[in-house]
Each structure stands twice: as C-alpha cells, then as structure tokens.
Symmetry: D3
C-alpha cells in the first residue's frame, strides 16, 4: 500500500548536450520523464511511499521508462502492451533570447489506450492519495474517460485526489480543455494550477489570490494551490490564503520545476503538515530542481532542509 | 538535372554507443538514414549527380534529415509539411549470439501522405534514372499509389527505373507484399532483390541464378541483381548471368550494406559501364560500408579503387 | 515474498572507455556491480521475483548502487549506515596479450560490518531461495560470521541455499578460504564452483565430473554445478552428471559471465525445470552477457529463447 | 543563380569542450567556420539563396568543410586542389577574466592560392550580391589581388558588393591593412565595420555616427554599417543614420556574432526591406547566435520573428 | 634543486559532467588533485622550479596522480608502496541553492603512512622553500608527526616554511586541530589562513587585520596572509598590513581557488617581490583559476599579466 | 644525465572516435605523438632514464605536446619558439578493406628550424645513447643537417647512436631518402629498419637475414635490427643473426608498434642484456602496444614480464 499513486504518460526525453541545436547534434541525452512519474519520484524521495502506474509498449523503450522511474526512487507498476508506441519528446535547452523548445512526438502512445479495467486500480483505492494532471485527459478520448473514472474511483475509496491543471497548448485548445477539466473538478480534493492557466483555460480573472478563492468557492476544493512562476505560489485552504515566495536559484534546467513543487508539497501535506509548511517545502524542492539536469528533483530530505535553513553555502568539505 | 533521383522515407536513427543496451543507455547517437537517401548519397559520392526527394515535417527533426543528406553529398529536395511526424528508428548494435535489433517508430510519418502532385516530379522525369524500394509502398496506402505513379511517370519519361525489393517483415506480411510488388514490376527496368526475399515474398525457388533468370523471364526486366549476403551477388543481363563474390570485410556496422551495393552498382551501371564492372564496384563499396558507422558508404572513388586494386594495406603514411 | 533473495557486496565500478589505460583516461564509466546483486538482476529479468539485501553508506555513492540495481529489475532492500565506505573497483578492459585488470578498493566497505540483526532477514526466511557467494565471507570476519548465520537461518526456514565459490585471489589465500568455505557447505543445497577453484582452493583432483561427484559425495549437496570456462559446464544432480557446452559468443565484456550463468540457471531451476533445461538456459544467458557492457545480463526471456532456438540471425527488422 | 555569393576562407575549428584548457583537453569539438561561409549560411537560412565559393584541399578535411556548410543550408561551390593545406583554428572558450583565445594555424592554406581564373566567377556575376571580408586580402598576396579582381568583376556585372572590414590583428598590422582595404573601397557598395576597426585601422575619429558619415562621404558607399559591440549598431544610408540597440542575450558562444549580424542584415536588405528593418533583424539574429555553439546562427525565420516580437518566453510546450 | 618543495596528499578526483548528480551519472571526469600538488603546479607554471613529494600506491591509480602532476608542470618525486590505497574524492558541482558537494574517500591512503625516513627529504633541505597545509597532519597520527618533522628539518636547513591552515571539517574537529596546528607554528615562516578558519579553529576574534596582527604577534611569523573569500585577502608583513581585493571572475569551478592564490603568491614572494606585488599576483591567479575546470590554475605568466593589466578583453584574434 | 636521449618531431594527433570518418566526425581525440618521443616514453617506462629534446611553438599546442610526453614518463627538454607552427596529423582508424589513413599537416613545423646550437646537446653528449629516426632528416634541409650534426656529436662523445630508418612515403621519395640516410650511416651504431624499407629505399635484396647481413657488412654497424611485420623481427649482432617471432595480439591501435619495439629493445639492450633477450622483450612490448589506444606503449615492466611468462590470462582479480 502506497502513500501516493500517480497515473499518466511518461515519455522518452531526447535532448542535445549543452545548448547545441537539435538539427546539428550528433548525440542526444536519453532520459525519461512525465509529470505524473516526476511527482511520484519527487515525493518518493522525500518520505512518501509512491507508485506510478501506466501502460507502456513492451519494448526496450518501455523498459527504459520503468528503469528510469525505479532508479530514482518510485515504484513503477505498468501494463505492458504490444499496441501503440512509446511517447517521446525532444527538448532543446536554450538561453535568452532563444526559448527552450519542446517537440512532442507522443501521438498514439501506448498509454492513450489505457482503461481502468487493465490498470492496477487497487493501488489507487488502497492509497492515501492519487495524483494525475490535465495532460492525461488531453492525450486521447480513452484517457479522458479513464482519468474521470480513476478520480471517481479514488473518491469513492476515500483516497485524496490531487490534480495539476498543467495546460499544454500543444495538446489542446483552451476551449477544448475547459469543459473536460471542469467535469473532473467535482472529484478533486486538491487542485494545483498556474495562475496563467487559470486565466487562459478556466476563464478566471483577478490576481492569484482571487483565482484561488474563486476556484475554492465554485468547486469546493479542500485546498487550491496557485503558482505564479518567479513570483512564488500561494494556497487557499480552509478559508485562508498563504503566500510563499520562491527561493533564489541559478537555473540549470527549468523543466520539471512545477512537478518538483507538487512533489515537495505532497511530501509534507500528505504527512499531515500544515499548508504553510508544505508550501515552503515545495518552494525549496522547486529551487533545487532548477539546478539539476533532467525532469526530476533528484534530491534528499537533507538537501531540502539545507535550503530551508539556508545553511548550505559554497563547497561542503 | 540529376543523373539519379530517389524517393522514399528517411528516418532519424538513434543508437546507443558501442554495444550498450538501449534500455540502459544514457545517450544515443543521432543520425538520419533511409534506403533511398542512402542510395542517393552513395551514388552521389561516386560520380553521379543525385537528388533525394521526399516529404518531411517542418521541424528541427526534418531539418536534421536534410542536413544529414546534404552533408554527405546528395541534394535533398523535400516538401515541408505540418502534418505527420518524423519517422524514427532505434538501432541496437550487437554481436553473436545477440542479434542487432531495430525498433521502428515510423507510423504516421509525414512521408506517408506524399502524393505525386506535391512532390517535385519534374526532377524524376528530367533524370536519367529513378530509384525507390519496396519499403516505400509498404508504408501507407497513399505511398503504395504514389510509388506506382512515380514509376509509371518515370517510365513514360524514359527515365530508367531501379527498384530494390527490400522486404521488411516488420512492415508487412509476404502475402501483402507480393501483389503490391508484382503490380509495380511492369514499370521497373532494373530489379534488385535478396535471394531470400525472392523466395519468401515472391515465391520463387531454386538458387540465385534460377531466381534471376525466372524474374527476368517473367517480367522482362532489363537487369536483375540478386544478392546473397556473404555468398556474394549475381546479375542477369541480356541473357547472361554474372557472379560477383564479396570482398572480405571486418564488419563494424552492417546496416546499409545493401544500399551501398546498389549505390555502387548504379554509379557504374548508369554511366554505361558493363554489368560485371558495375557488380565488382558494388561489391567493393559494400565491403567499405561495413567498416563505417552509420547507414551510408561515406567513401571516395579513390577508396573504392583501392579495394578493387587490393592496393591499400595497413596504414597509409 | 521473493522467489530469490541474495546478499553480498555491490561495488561502484569505474572503467576507462574502450581499451584506454586507467593511468591516462580522462573519464571513467560509472556503474555498480557485485556477484550477488548481479545474480538478483539476472534472475529477476528472467522470471523470478528477486531481492538483493545489503548494507550501504548513506551517500550518493550508496544511492548510485541501489538505483543501478533497481533500474535493472531487482529489488534492493538495504540498511543505510554512516559507518564504513562504498566499496569500489576499477576495471581496465584489454585484449590479448594484455589481461583485463581489476583494482579492488573495497577495504572497510560499509557492508563488511553487516550483521544478521540489522539485515532484513525475514526476506530470506520467507523466500524460496537464498544466494550468496564465497566473496562475502572473504570480506571481513564479521561477514564470515554473517554468511554462516544467514545460510543457517535460510536452512532452518526451508529456503533453498545456493552458493557460488567465486574464489578471489586478491581477497584471500586458498589456505584461508578452504576452511571457511567448508564450514559453510553443510548449510548449502546448491553449490556452484569453477573447476579451477575446486582444485586450487578446495584441493580436489580430476576432471570436472570427478570434482562434481566428489563434492556431492562429501557434502551431500542437492546439486553441484561445475563451470569450466570455454569448455562449458556440467552439473551433478541426483546421481547424474549433465554436460552443457557454451554457446558461441563474440565477447565484448566478459566480466559477470559467471553470475549470468548462475542467474540463468536459477531462473529455471527454482521454477522447477530439470537440471539439463536449467543448464542450457544458463549457458545461453552467459553467452548473451558476453555481448553486453557492464556486469549484468541485461536481457529479456525472448532474447534467451532466441539463443536457444538459434533463431536470431543478423539484423532483426 | 544565387541571391548572394560569398568568397573567403573557411577553416576547421577545434575547441575543447566547455571551458577546458586546450593544453589539457583530451578531445576537441570539430567544426568548420569562416566569416564568408558563416554569412552564406546565416543569410541562406533566412530566405536568400546563397552560395559560398572557395578553394580547398582535396582531402577529408576539405570535405569536412563543405559538408558543414551544406548541412547548414548554403551551397558550397569549391575548387579542389592538391596544393596547400586546410586552414585551422583552435578556439578556447573562457570567461572573465580569462579571454577566449584563438590560435590560428592558417598559413599556406589552399585558399591562399585561389585566383579568379579557377574560381566559379560566373556565380558572382549572375548573383544579386557578392560578399567578402577584410580577412580575405590579409591571407596572401594572391588573395589580395583576387579580392580586388572579384569585387571589380562584381561591380562590372551590377552585382551589389558587400564588404566587412573584419580586421584581424593576428594576420596583419593596421599600417599594412589600411592601404589594401582602401584600395578596395571604390568597388564596394555596402561597407560594414566595427567602430574599433574604423579607428585602429582606417584612422577615423569620433563616435560611430561620425565614422559612418565620414566613410560615406569619403568613399561614396551606398550604405555603411558600423557595429559597436554591446552598444549596438548604426547604419548610414542615403544621408540618414539609423541606430539599433542590441537585443539582450545570455551568451553561450560569442564567436560569429558579427557574421550573424551581417547575414541577418543582408537577408532583409537584399530583399528590398528598409535599412531600419534590416538592422533590427540583424540585431535579432546576432542575439540568437550568442546562444548557439559554433560560428553560425543556426536559426529559422520563425525564431528571429520570435525575438522581434519578444513573443517567445520560457519553455514552448 | 628546486625553488619550492611541497608535501601532502594528492587524491583522485571523480566528478559528474556538468551539474549532473553523482547518483545518476553514468560517467565521471577523472582528474587528480591535492592542496600541495596544486600549489606545486600553480607556482611551477609561474616561474618557480617546483617539486611535489609524497607516497603513493604502486598502481595505475598512483601513476594517474603523478602523470597528472607532471603533465601540468611540476616534478613529482614519490615513494611507491604496496601498502594503503589511493585517496579519492567525489566532487559534485552545483549552483544556488544546491551546494557543491565533496565526498572524501581518503581513509587509509598510502600517504598516511609516510615517514621522513622514506621521503626524499634532501629535496626539502636543498630547496628555497617548503610548503604543506593543515590537511596533512589531519590525515593520520603518522602524518602529524611527519609534518612536524619535515617543518623542523626545513627550518634547520634555512628553507623558508610556508603553511596553509586549510581546515577541513570532514577530517577533524576544531578542538583536535588547534593544538596540532599550534604545535607546528613555531617552525613556520609564512602562514596562510582563511579568516573563517582563524576564528573557528584558532579561536581568534576581530576582523582579518586583527587576526593577522594577532597571529604575527603571538607566533612571530615572517608573513601572515589572511583570505576572506569574495572580500579579498590581506597580508601582515614586517608590521604592515596590505589589503588586496579580488579580481572579478565568472566562476566555472571554484575548487582550488585558495591553492591558486597561494601558488601565485609564492611565485612572486619567493622570487623576492614585495608583499603587495605578490598579493596582487595571487589574486589574479585565483581569479583565473575560477574559470578553469579542475583544481589547478593551468595558466601562463602572460595570462596573469593580462589580468593585472586588465588588458585582455573579449576574444583575442 | 639520461640513459637515452631522443630528438625529433612530436605532432599533435587528432583522430575520430572509433571508426568514424574524419569527414563526418563532430569530435576528435586529441593526443600527441612522434617516433622519437614515443621511443623515449616507451623506454622510459621500462627502466631507462630518458629525455626527448625538440623545438616547439610557445603555445597551448606546444604545451600539450610536452604535457603528454611528461605525463607518460619521459622528460621533455624543448626549445620554445615563436616561429613556425605545431606539426599535426589526423589519423582515421579503419578495418579491412579500408586502410587506416593518416593526413600529415606538418609543413613548417617549428622543429624544422632546429639547429644544434639552440638544442640542449649536452644532454646528448652526457647520455649513454642517442636515438633519432629517418623521419627527422626528411622534414627540412635544416633538420637534415641537424640530424647529421647530432649523430656526429654523439659519436664523438661515445654516446651509442641508434637510428630507425622509418621511411615515410608522404615525406620524400626513395631516391631522395637513400643518399641522405646513407650519409648518416657512418655515425650510427645500431640500425633498425623494416625489411620493406631496406628494399624500397636502400635498394637491398633478399630476405631479412640477407638484408641484415648486407647492411652490417657494408656499413659496419654494431647491431642491425630488421622488422618484418607479422613475420617477426631479427637482429644481426657480432656475426650472429637472431630471429624473434611476434607475440600474438588482438590489435586495437597499430600506430606506434614499431616505436614500442624499439623502446622495448633499447630498454634491455642499453642495460647490457643480450640481443636475444632484448629482441624478445621488444616483441612483447610491441604486442602490448597493439592493445592500447594512442602511439605509445603505456605499460609497466610487470606487464611485459606477464607477456614473456605468458602468465597473464583472462581477468586478473
């Protein structure tokens, strides 16, 4: 029985070394990453017992994905299949004024056919919490249904449901996304959203606090976390709104910062810590993530404490 | 105006360094390759003016493909498109008893929607020769039609048509392949086939000479080339059958040996050399290919002459 | 509950790329390996549910070790400690007439202080089988005792005990090793030994069959497996001796061949297959291992079947 | 027929990875670059049909050069020769206070013997524009003459001539450079110069605007572009002086920024856009270049538009 | 006869490329470094004739160490031994808020058993100066004695003794370090200390000047150098205190900055330059070091002059 | 005072990894090598005190050369100069039927201007032996004279002179080489030549023994060593001819095998061992060399003994 189960797509990640252009690279770094396995890894390293469930092609590429997840500290419980393909994304890191660029190559991924019947749903109903994100229902009609079913199933089992809006403009339009997401909200306990997504996709107005209060009021969430990039995050919980600034970070790889935040938040929130404590922990994990290549916050609890204490400085020797 | 135009899919090729397993690799070599661009490159380096035509996604991955082809010495004239994806294959090199393994990830590639209307077909009708392979019609219904149309169009323009059966069991069954291939044969002047494919797919019996003679008799080809792996190749032409053994090679990367053979053959055959001369040249190019990483025979005419002369030995200094 | 639990040291493995000399290398490949985790990985990939137990330093180096084991398909259940250091070995691959060289740097490794009290011994008593090797008692006096205790504990719980003599001349002298090993034999069900070790360390004479029969007669083992390098292996079981030649292999990395053999053997033997079937399977896994960099046989059951069928040939595409 | 033809030396570029010192590096990045092929590539990617002409040794090194140019999107039309050698430069990237260092090893390069008679000068006379730089006449007496001849030939054919002063203190003294450069000015339509070179080499005084006006007045150029590093550029055209600040950039590799500026400028200027439009475009291309390893601005028109719109931000996904 | 002899431990240094985490790295950069060989190298490159003496295991790892020292410009005169092991450290570079982390694996290093009897002490007595650091006596009881003996021996031979406090909290506690260090002070001519170490370990109070004056007063040093990180350094000499700010540097690898400072200082101080001149030179060398990967200041005198002149700017070509 | 001093050119060596073609490589291995420094390194590692003298450009490239030589175990005593350039060669490793290819880029190397006046000739006159090869006089007229002068100087000082014919067809014609080499022979004590060079360049006939006897007879050498590639070597000494077969080797990098042979031979011959002993030792060193990347035999005396004993087998652990 896990503390946290997550469900979603994990892709192969291919990226040129340094800032080389994809078009000219002669070798690519080969990793695997996805919002839901990232959260499982991040929370799993920080004290929770976590499992990521999914559906993968029965191939060396699928095995690359599970090997990566398990090497980092989460359990992977996947359905192996001969249908579909391994979702892939190409990541080209850059610096101002060149934007970091992502090419998704995830159509027809094996996971897009995953149904509750074949997934290890007992993992979910036996868990304390279940997490997925707005990427999952965007991937296929089947996954839209599966996402709804899994959230409902979790709710029925009193498993806390956590959902990150995670809007991806390369997957769907705001007008497509909004009704799907809103149909899921009644089964969600903890909602995480970027303030930008709340505006673009959910049609909300006002500042982050306004957004958090409106979401809480309209949908009755237990907790709403709103992230604002460099301006920090805030959370609405039981009528209160708590602000959390970012910890300063010298960014090496920004991809996965949001998942680091969520993983850190849940590592505390699900262990009964207060929302302010969980938010601050989340911000520290997110700051550490930015210094680490790859999509996950490959850190230890001691390292997070070091950031919170601001005790680490320079070279430890 | 080119001496040789080729049409087909060129994929991104991703392979672990050395003999590392794909599942455990942390970086992949990043190349691009496909039978038809390989032949264009190979022949283009050995004296012909060659152009590869195709359809590619308008992305860094598509640009990787054209950059690779043009860097190696053929021209690339492609239609850029926003539909479809970049075909990809993963190659895991191995040694006895582990087979070198290929994972194709080429479904829904942009090229699968290519029609004669959008392709630069004037390139074909103005060329001396046109080459494609049995991979192309296997990729989609559209490409099955396009292949037929392009061969017919070439024939009508008195462009010599060259076709390599190149059967890929991961793409279609022999029973699917045979009628499609046979429907193309009337428009083909020069047929290349592995003796194994002739048996498995085309239902022919007997040794390679029998196969060559039967193919020539049934379909009226100008020339039939039959390859037999380590046992060398032979060609039927104007009633004669010419045998050509392989040149000894210490194999470093066997992928693309067949395309090297065809490229070398055409580099001579299309310049009016006799079939025995072209066959021997082809065998020399194929042997050189086996020493070179990647799918193409990145060689010079001088190097081929060195093999033919058996004049090169040890270290040249 | 696992099918197979193994206990022993897993070291960090540092090796220059290709055949570069350690003295001149500017980068080292960074892996982790040890006989007992190798066996857990190898058997775990081929159908058994396996767990490796050990004691590691609570550091990034210790985490490298568990990440490596878990990424490859076995579970790692380790005691984390602040005492001792991470055992390390440097491996310099070479070719004739230069021997592949190993520099062990494993003194005072954390594992050398492991006692039954702190290890998860319930894993062992609940398992079908327990495996360790002659390396373990050679590492420290504490481990000599621990090895004896764990084997006895397993025996008492009706867990099948499997032991590979695995003599390491850099760790102890034959005269030291013999009494220690012989004191363990009464608690061992399945003994594996190289014929060379049986002669040098255990003082046995005659050919491999003689050695197997003598060991069985003297110690009452259920099964004795004797390996002879290029000459293949044989096993004594229930009075019969079965011979198994090696499968031809083009060796890329020979380290870990013995552990691949044992992993393959146990994957069949512990599932109730006959000894000849298990031996042939073991030989196929060992041959595959030799083509793979690193200490483990990172293969799939299908690939082993391919070797047994001799069905794989050349490039699969 | 090309829109732009460039002529000059392209060298092999060898550089240690990261900031490693050349003296200690054990591997070098292997690229090819030169001001004139850089400009051909940069402009060729941004809408012009460009050709770089030169003379190269008939060797793998010479082929490395043409492969690099053609892979990046310009055509290379070179004279192959057995005389001379491949020019080379070693580049050691550094950061404050260590200067990025260049070691030229370009004496006796094959190109230093290039004469108009052997070069494909019809390319120049048929083109809209011809570009070379002050590096070319500095390389040899022959090239001093050839540069003069090619510019005259271009002028006679109504091909717009573009010239970048590009003073290299490792090639010649200001006192040598000035008369040579000034002898070329009468045949130049568009002059580009760093304000520093204008002072050091051409003996001009005052600020950049003064320099531009003085150059225009004295030599009757159609357009004069003066660059000032971090302070941006300006251009004199038809009596007006237009200022263009730099776009902010997080510099990864500063080499080739000037050529990116010129390539971007010409991509617009030669297509009839106004000077302010061309200058702004040039500044955007130069800013992008600074984020890209290697000497060229390996970008797309869309990416330049993104900078101009300031629309790209963070990670595109 | 050398100008400067140094004695101490040099370790193998293993570090992941870029900012990758050690736990996930698949290859490590392989260097060798230690305070005393760093100083020998740094001073040796800047005009002194320097020799590093030590004791190493007679293995490829030991040879890696001497090869590294000699390649960089100091002589290595070591005692080879079969006892002990090669000291090692793992270095994980990071950025804010993640601290650069060092894992020492140096227990039982061969050097820890080095005695004056076996070391080439004639090198010391014949030299102008002898340098060691507070790391050396911290490594073993034997080395505590050896350090004292060597300093005394040097003093007796009128060799100037230089000592850097170099406190390492991973090796010993302040309360252990203080009496040991203070017992050495009477035999030391030039003392270098970080102001932080002076406070933490030596129990001094006040600002850096106070610390320098107090040390000079209490122990009668010829010269005291106190470093303050980003705030620069100062030196007490003959009653005067000289301040030296840092030169601005864009840090690439901060490890070894202190040794670069000392090496630069001694390169001038031991050649009879004044303390202010030596301090400024030291600061320039330290700034250069921060731009260079590895522990040493792999620079030339010309490059140091460039920093002092502030004459180098941008790209030299 | 050294046992052996060598003089000649050492070049930078640039080679693609594995068997990649130079034309397509994106990185090159960066080493330094030359016959005479190779011999100094090889003999220096096997018991002699050796010094290589030469003239190098005062640049990072020149420092790369001395760093490489000194890291490997010979002393480098070079004249630094601002004239000339660093000699370079590109090496493309290949396998049958593709020849390993060398592109020399050594014209106008700094060493080509070296004169006895500026070289540290006291090193030679104080040494037991002096070695250079037929490459040296082929590099320039100045070096032709310098070679003659150094050999004469050595002879006058009773320093044993050793000379390897080392004919390089890319440097000169046999008809040019013969008179130059023969003019040096009167000052040579020990001549080494490939039998092929003896025939092609020196015009000798017959088998290797005939060649050795004829050379000894005509020029009065103390010892003549004739190498025959795979057929082994033989030596004429004091009227006797001793044959030495090769030791079997699995070749990884054949470049430098001849220098390994000479280095091994001199390591024994100059220490007074008999010619048969020295020849066998030479053959063992040459076999080891073939397993090692780079031009030198980076081995230890123990490893050579292992080959002579045929005692090393498989993996040492």
């Amino acid at each position: 029985m896990s503390d946290l189960v997550t469900f979603g797509e994990t892709m192969v990640r291919l990226s040129p070394p340094g800032q080389e252009r994809l078009e000219r690279a002669s070798e690519l770094e080969f990793r695997a990453a996805g919002a839901e396995s990232n959260v499982a890894v991040n929370a799993g390293r920080l004290g929770l017992d976590t499992t990521w469930i999914s559906k993968l092609p029965d191939s060396a590429l699928g095995r690359k994905v599970t090997a990566t997840v398990e090497a980092q500290g989460a359990e992977a419980d996947v359905v192996w299949s001969d249908e579909g393909r391994q979702g892939t994304y190409y990541l080209e890191q850059a610096s101002t004024p060149r934007p970091t660029n992502v090419i998704y190559d995830r159509a027809n991924a094996t996971v897009t056919t995953a149904t509750p019947e074949e997934l290890p749903t007992k993992r979910i109903t036996a868990a304390d919490a279940f997490y997925t994100s707005g990427i999952t229902p965007a991937l296929s009609d089947t996954l839209e249904e599966t996402t709804a079913d899994l959230l409902e199933l979790a709710q029925d089992a009193d498993t806390t449901t956590v959902f990150d809006v995670n809007y991806r403009s390369k997957l769907w339009e705001p007008s497509e996304a909004r009704p799907v997401l809103e149909s899921l909200f009644p089964d969600i306990d903890v909602l995480v959203t970027a303030v930008r997504d709340a505006r673009t996709v959910l049609g909300l107005n006002g500042d982050a606090e306004r957004v958090a209060r409106d979401l809480a009021a309209e949908w009755g969430f237990e907790t709403v976390v709103v992230t604002r990039g460099e301006e920090g995050a805030l959370a609405w919980h039981a009528g209160d709104v708590i602000e959390q600034p970012v910890f300063e970070a010298d960014t090496h790889d920004a991809v996965g910062t949001g998942d680091a935040f969520v993983g850190g938040f849940l590592a505390r929130y699900l262990q009964g810590e207060s929302v302010p404590v969980a938010l601050e922990y989340a911000a520290a994990v997110a700051a550490l993530k930015r210094t680490i290549p790859g999509d996950t916050a490959l850190v230890t609890p001691d390292e997070v404490e070091g950031v919170l204490d601001r005790s680490d400085d320079g070279i430890a020797r």
